[in-house]
Symmetry: C2
Subunit: 414 residues, 2 copies
């Protein structure tokens, strides 16, 4: 690339005066050189820039030790965050109320909302709180059979791993059982893996792509996997960067239709695309920025882990509260005992009992958590979802305020 003299001067000032590291400038140039227009202000390919999709492919291949030359950039769609990609996937699969999508309970309500907007049918399956929100294939079979008996054509299974709001990280054997279930039942797996970097136990994250490969099913297994720049240690959610990956067994005609659908919105925002590039292709050892990158990444992740442990410990110390370990993601999802008197008051007010709890919490402490009823929960149980995102120096105070509120609430409705 030829650089004009005034640009060289500009670069020098960036490095000397603004202390921008040289590899950052090099990276910016590399990204721009992958854009035909040479600018982040122009439309791109509707699936996103080829150069960035190439880096996504390499990221996945490296993560999953995959060397399949047939897995290429045509299988990657960059998106404005994971959510629009999920909606595209659901829209492609739902033709009407006869089509069912299996979703976990509790689940991040993107799925229930999108299924409803698209006119399909929810086929809920329960996660088992007592065993750390584990996912049993027997439960999948049970709900699948019940839905099929009712005339629902089950088209897809949604798995969120690590879980939102539940935080569980799926073990390998369990994932194999899930893949086997989808394969036997000929349903598409929608693998929401946006929290793949947020793991706080010794249990490692495995992508479903790697499991499918290990099982030798790459040629026949239909799956869409999702990732995002909004989570992990980046947390760049306002950029709306994300991607989804088609497994190569998905019919090229389906991919063509998805491309056509994507083209209605022209392209994902380019700054978000660039953010995806930074996520999948971070500074490497030897790069000027590597030390700083590593430090920030490790600090954020170890702080999240520390906060996860402390928050769950605090929650478990409260009367009538029980909280599973947050193995991953960014949330604790405690079960709370709500006294009968409070349940009755909620009924009188026409709100869910856990909504009564969280509204009073908000009013009295300013702490905002989401009631379990927003995610779905086993009948007769109550929960709320709280994040452990407040910084280290604030989370203790948050826990204290929560504790005081909780004790007052339990006394009030005793």
């Amino acid at each position: 690339m030829v650089t004009a003299p005034h640009l060289l001067q500009y670069e020098k000032a960036l490095i000397n005066e603004l202390h921008i590291k040289p590899d950052v400038i090099k990276r910016a140039k590399t990204i721009l050189s992958g854009i035909d227009s040479g600018s982040t202000g122009a439309y791109t390919h509707s699936q996103g820039l080829q150069s960035i999709r190439q880096n996504v492919v390499e990221f996945i291949k490296k993560r999953d030790q995959d060397t399949d030359p047939e897995f290429t950039t045509q299988h990657i769609f960059l998106t404005n965050g994971a959510s629009p990609g999920v909606q595209m996937g659901l829209r492609a699969m739902i033709r009407g109320p006869q089509d069912g999508i299996m979703i976990p309970i509790p689940q991040y309500p993107l799925y229930s909302a999108s299924i409803q907007m698209t006119g399909g049918t929810q086929v809920p399956y329960l996660l088992d709180e007592e065993t750390g929100w584990s996912l049993s294939v027997e439960e999948l079979e049970r709900q699948y059979s019940a839905a099929t008996k009712n005339g629902t054509n089950v088209r897809a299974l949604v798995i969120i791993n690590p879980g939102n709001p539940t935080g569980q990280v799926l073990p390998k054997d369990n994932m194999k059982g899930i893949v086997d279930f989808c394969h036997r039942r000929k349903i598409v797996l929608l693998a929401d893996e946006v929290y793949q970097e947020n793991v706080y136990t010794e249990k490692p994250f495995h992508s479903f792509h790697s499991i499918v490969k290990e099982m030798g099913l790459s040629e026949s297994f239909e799956m869409i996997s999702y990732h995002s720049t909004s989570k992990g240690f980046l947390g760049e959610c306002g950029r709306r960067g994300g991607y989804f990956q088609f497994s190569k067994a998905i019919d090229p005609d389906v991919q063509d239709e998805m491309y056509k659908t994507a083209s209605v919105n022209l392209c994902p925002n380019v700054d978000g695309q660039v953010m995806v590039d930074l996520m999948v292709n971070p500074p490497r050892e030897g790069d000027d920025s590597y030390a700083q990158y590593k430090q920030e990444r490790d600090d954020i992740l170890s702080s999240l882990k520390r906060r996860a442990v402390n928050l769950v410990k605090k929650l478990n110390s409260l009367e009538g509260v029980s909280c599973q370990q947050a193995e991953g993601a960014m949330y604790a999802f405690p079960s709370i005992t709500i006294p009968d008197k409070a349940v009755k008051e909620a009924q009188t007010l026409g709100v869910a009992p856990d909504m009564l709890y969280v509204l009073q919490l908000l009013e009295q402490t300013g702490i905002c958590v989401v009631p379990g009823s927003g995610f779905g929960q086993k009948d007769g149980t109550y929960h709320f979802r709280t994040t452990f995102l407040p910084p280290d120096d604030k989370i203790d105070a948050v826990c204290e305020r929560l504790e005081k509120f909780h004790n007052d609430f339990m006394t009030k409705y005793k």
Copy 2:
């Protein structure tokens, strides 16, 4: 705002070494001070940042000399470009195939595609090429009555002004007739005004918002208007910035539902939101950047105008080609005579005759235009859409290649 010492040093370097104008830095600070998180990396309100929506409201009020205190930021939704906003509007209005949306023919295919994806019915009305692609209320009445007779419940009328692909700018009287039609028929007006800055004749652009106000219908007229950062003289299409405006007569319950729908995607990308801010609140006289801004804006718009005139002139000089003046937008949409022999060849190949023409044009010259059949056209007529976006120093060569191709094509199929 207190600024840390190292930030002051940073600012100084930006001004002295990188020649960033001081008002640019001030603007960046103002934008950041309107964001609770202080960062463009975090989620915002699902309708977009309050501070930027406030600037959109002020932009519209200034443009339309509107002082209505009841028109507020609650009526503005920032979006990832205009397209997702259009789809949200259509989705809100279409319940099933019984619901019809009136769309111009020819039209930018966002509308036909979105209506089809949403399961509604297109109710096309023809623009009249001979009178400069004018829009007659009689034609609207005719198509409305025919659709209603067929059992279609017409819910909305789409107007693209300035037109895409046709480039016409609607005169005020015509707009009043359209508003009156929608008001009498109780249908929602979807006003696509993304080309409002791209006007090349003495006929000024009027927003439908201003017309409705002038007609005294603000309290009762239901309308959604669209704008975007992708057009005008900015052309920052890769940012995916845009907004839509609800007229205040739209039921607050509908607005609440739209807000809920928007929240499924969390928020529009923040860099795109910032781009909207720059569009609606450009540098003003007295600002350090004003002279440069004005110069660039005027250069771009006068160059577009010059190219529009030259391109249309060139097209009209070709055998069997007739092109209306491009009053606005970014396109010429000439009618082309396709010889019978070429029409027969197209039929044999199973493609539209104008598709045969544009494919040969692409193959032989590298010039890419869009066949009229992609936009819809009166039966038996053929068109293509071409932009006048190639820069001044290239457009003459483009015209020459087009002319040579066209003459060869006409000779070949004579």
